[in-house]
Symmetry: C2
Subunit: 160 residues, 2 copies
């Protein structure tokens, strides 16, 4: 005899809360003048290793052609530089500028503010517990990509 069961809703809640989290982050990024995909590109470039556009495309998990527009606007905003490699003139070397580093710092602050807002109702212990559980879920999925892909989870679930 099976015990009374909790409804299968973790997937649903993750989808819903993930949507909210992504939206709220997008709103904060917008205030800083950039889009979420641009923020993702900045963080990868901000790690320090200069890279070309093909490598960036690979890390972001998007098409190379997509990176062109992304890099165009980051360069126009003065957040990165794009210089021809001296050793292989087919490559552009992407490099974060000082204003770019300032933006990255503001993005980190935005993430902290979001975290605070998101977990407002939870105690410090609850937050730690939640963090740990989510981390285990992520690890089990091998979720270690630099930037998660877009998704179109849409009206996947209902009921509540």
């Amino acid at each position: 005899m099976t015990p009374a069961r909790r409804p299968a809703r973790i997937g649903f809640l993750l989808t819903q809360l993930g949507s909210l989290a992504a939206e709220s982050f997008a709103a904060r990024a917008r205030e800083l003048g950039i889009t979420p995909p641009e923020a993702g590109a900045m963080r990868i470039l901000g790690r320090g290793a200069d890279m070309n556009q093909r490598e960036l495309a690979e890390k972001l998990g998007v098409a190379q052609s997509r990176v062109v527009a992304l890099v165009d606007s980051l360069e126009a905003a003065g957040l990165i530089t794009r210089e021809r490699s001296t050793t292989d003139r087919r490559n552009f070397v992407l490099h974060v500028t000082d204003p770019g580093r300032e933006l990255l710092a503001r993005l980190r602050s935005a993430a902290e503010a979001q975290e605070e807002e998101l977990t407002e109702g939870l105690s410090a212990d609850d937050r730690d517990r939640l963090y740990e559980l989510l981390l285990r879920l992520g690890d089990a999925r091998g979720l270690d990509r630099d930037v998660h892909p877009d998704y179109r989870g849409g009206s996947a679930h209902t009921d509540r």
Copy 2:
């Protein structure tokens, strides 16, 4: 003096895991021949209260014009009927058919299979704890919509 702090990553993890959950649900729904938005519409209609397209649009949080195509394909698939109201001939009354109910049952099974897969690495107690924490997060956000909206969380975060 502030204690060593956990990185602000709950928002990031929710975004990433939410994306995975939405994707895996979409894949399962696809096997059943429907899209996530269609599944959302079916669940709302499946609650039993017959409604018209405007009401469905409101519950789904999408434009009325969007519902036209949605309802077109659900009707073509034989999952719902669409009959003119006898009292106000401007309205269509949407109603789930028997095959539609069968599909809903399969969707529920799919959600359970997904839940099992998603929480594979967690003990039953951990799953209950996670469920409870996510529920509190959702309640605090007033997240009680029938179907969550699409989102474009994109490359919002990176680092891990």
